[in-house]
Amino acid sequence: MTALLEVENLTKHFTVGDGLVNRLAGRRSTVVRAVDGVSFAIAPAETLGLVGESGCGKTTTGRLVLRAVEPTAGRIRFDGEDITALRERALLPFRRRAQIVFQDPYTSLNPRMPVGRIVGEPIMVHRLAARGAVPERVTALLEMVGLQREHAGRYPHELSGGQRQRVGIARALAVSPRLIVADEAVSALDVSVRAQILNLLIALRERLGLAFLFVSHDLGVIRFISHRVAVMYLGRLVEIAPAAELFRRPLHPYSQALLAAIPTVGDGRTSMFDQPGRLIEGELPSPMNLPRGCRFASRCPQRMARCREVEPALVSAAPNHLVACHLYGDENNGQGAAAPVSLRPPGPEADTAL
């Protein structure tokens, strides 16, 4: 199957401290390698979960994919077309096919616009319907996300958090996209409302054949909604595998630590917090001053001498299961580093030279 979205060696470096004052004072600027050679693909109607902690670059990755942030290097292909270098006007058709749903339904909707205009505007911008037909289309969209015609006349402040997020989803759907980047789309919502929105997204996904890049720090949500999951740490993908497989058999020590840190509902007899050995120590190193070798090495309970020297490449450790860790891959378990894996772009290993 051809991928809907393919990114190859996607990279975003932010320069910090290169403002006028710093330059005049002759201070050196530093580079934050927010996203550093990330490759993955999303098939039509597939949901790829992108999980990681703050500062790992998952949000930037979502923005890069949409060309909302300009990549420093790498390639983005959508539906076979290279969109990396397209200018704004040439990007318009892509903008129609890839949309975003933001985390905060309180700040991502214009407070001065009624819901009908918020949802109707993309239709007009992309001239998808005659002016007179827009209200009808808006009503259909509102109903699709579980709101009613009456909501079109309301302002965002008159709606609850869950209703606002439905408006955000309707706005994204207004242009009939094929891919939606959902950036922490349910993180600001209460448990019961979150469940409603997740169910809605799944129903819409099936009905419209939507693909998702679902960015979240919440592993429970990621597990629930994703077909495949990519785990990110300090700008790199460390593991990518089908969701069930990743949760059953995480390979990367960071993925294992992440899964072990989720407080799941237990039986109340034992507590994960009474087993200190289960939790990893330390905090994320600063992305401005990355360690040599594997970026997780400083916190890794299984690190070896080599981990401090050589950064591991993302290699195939099992069918459809890629991991960037010296514990796997090299020992040649019959699948070399270049083993073809479906649903991903060829040759992600090439990016290790960075």
């Binding site: 840190a261 990893i280 905090e283």
Partner: protein, 325 residues
């Protein structure tokens, strides 16, 4: 541990006067916390859980607030104390940590000075002794090179490290009760686990009871001995952790548990229709009845009282019985 509770909250009610209206945000909440026990207070936004914990500490500005009922700490009603007497208790007998650690520390003072100040307020000991204690405390909460970090300012600490400082500060006078209001909501999951493990270990070591406010049932399940479930200002269920997750008696508790994405795959999540009612439009009878899947006519009229269902298990539902309602 004695039979007399450490903290005994009776009929705690918090009201706010706005636009000539009196809104009741916390309605007749009663519960007890025994010495050394970790009790969870769980609910969704607007349930009144944070207000309950703030009312216990006397942190609600009155007016516009109005706090009634009793909050007894070792038989002493905190609501009857004046501000000076309360200040002697806060930080010493009851410590608190909040959601946003960097906002809870004063940005213009060194962390060591703030820690020192908190201790000097309640402990009559010479300065060098307190300094040494402060370094010891920071080391105990897992801050590397504590003596050096004492001279740093709060912005030089990460969220996780700042929360460790807050925990150290809270535990510095060995309080009998620690109130932690969403202490890890602003932290990443691996850091959250470290901080929660720290709270649990310190509390157990020093015999401090904890009232843990959280919206996260997973955290409650892993941290607490007992839990109180709040909905629209009222406690709807109280039970041990083992009971509440094995045999939740209130339909709201059950629905809340069903809403959680599990680690095993499921086709659809359970949901609760609608949203929690606002304080201006509280439904009569049971406040959950408009969203309740099993509501009967009397649920729309009679307010269910919190009644005992088994040992340590209380529920406010007309239809709950032992086993399933």
């Amino acid at each position: 541990m004695t039979d007399a509770p450490l903290l005994d909250v009776r009929g705690l009610t918090v009201e706010f006067e706005t636009d000539g209206e009196r809104l009741r945000a916390v309605d007749e909440v009663s519960f007890a916390v025994r010495g050394g026990e970790i009790v969870g207070l769980v609910g969704e936004s607007g349930a009144g859980k944070s207000l309950t914990s703030e009312a216990i500490l006397g942190l609600i500005p009155c007016p516009p607030g109005r706090v009634t009922g009793e909050v007894r700490l070792r038989e002493r009603n905190l609501l009857a104390l004046d501000e000076a007497a309360l200040a002697r208790i806060r930080g010493k007998d009851i410590a608190m940590i909040f959601q946003n650690p960097t906002a809870s520390l004063n940005p213009v003072f060194r962390v060591g000075d703030q820690l020192h100040e908190a201790m000097a307020l309640h402990l009559a000991e010479p300065r060098p002794t307190l300094r040494a204690r402060a370094v010891e405390i920071l080391t105990r909460v897992g801050i590397p090179s504590a003596a050096t970090r004492m001279r740093d300012y709060p912005h030089q600490f990460s969220g996780g490290m700042a929360q460790r400082v807050m925990i150290g500060m809270g535990m510095s006078c060995v309080p009998s009760l620690l109130i932690a209001d969403e202490p890890t909501t602003a932290l990443d999951v691996t850091i959250q686990a470290q901080v929660l493990a720290l709270i649990r270990r310190l509390a157990r070591e020093s015999g401090t009871a904890v009232l843990l406010v959280s919206h996260d049932l997973g955290i409650i399940s892993q941290m607490c001995d007992r839990v109180l479930v709040m909905y629209a200002g009222r406690v709807v269920e109280e039970a041990s952790i083992a009971t509440v997750f094995r045999a939740p008696a209130h339909p709201y508790t059950r629905a809340l548990i069903d809403c959680l994405p599990r680690t095993e795959a499921t086709a659809q999540l359970g949901t609760i229709v609608g949203v929690m009612p606002g304080l201006r439009a509280l439904p009569p009878g049971c406040r959950f009845h408009p969203r309740c899947p099993i509501a009967e006519p009397r649920c729309t009229k009679e307010t269910p009282a919190l009644r005992a269902l088994g040992s340590g298990h209380r529920v406010a539902c007309h239809l709950a019985s032992n086993g399933a309602p």
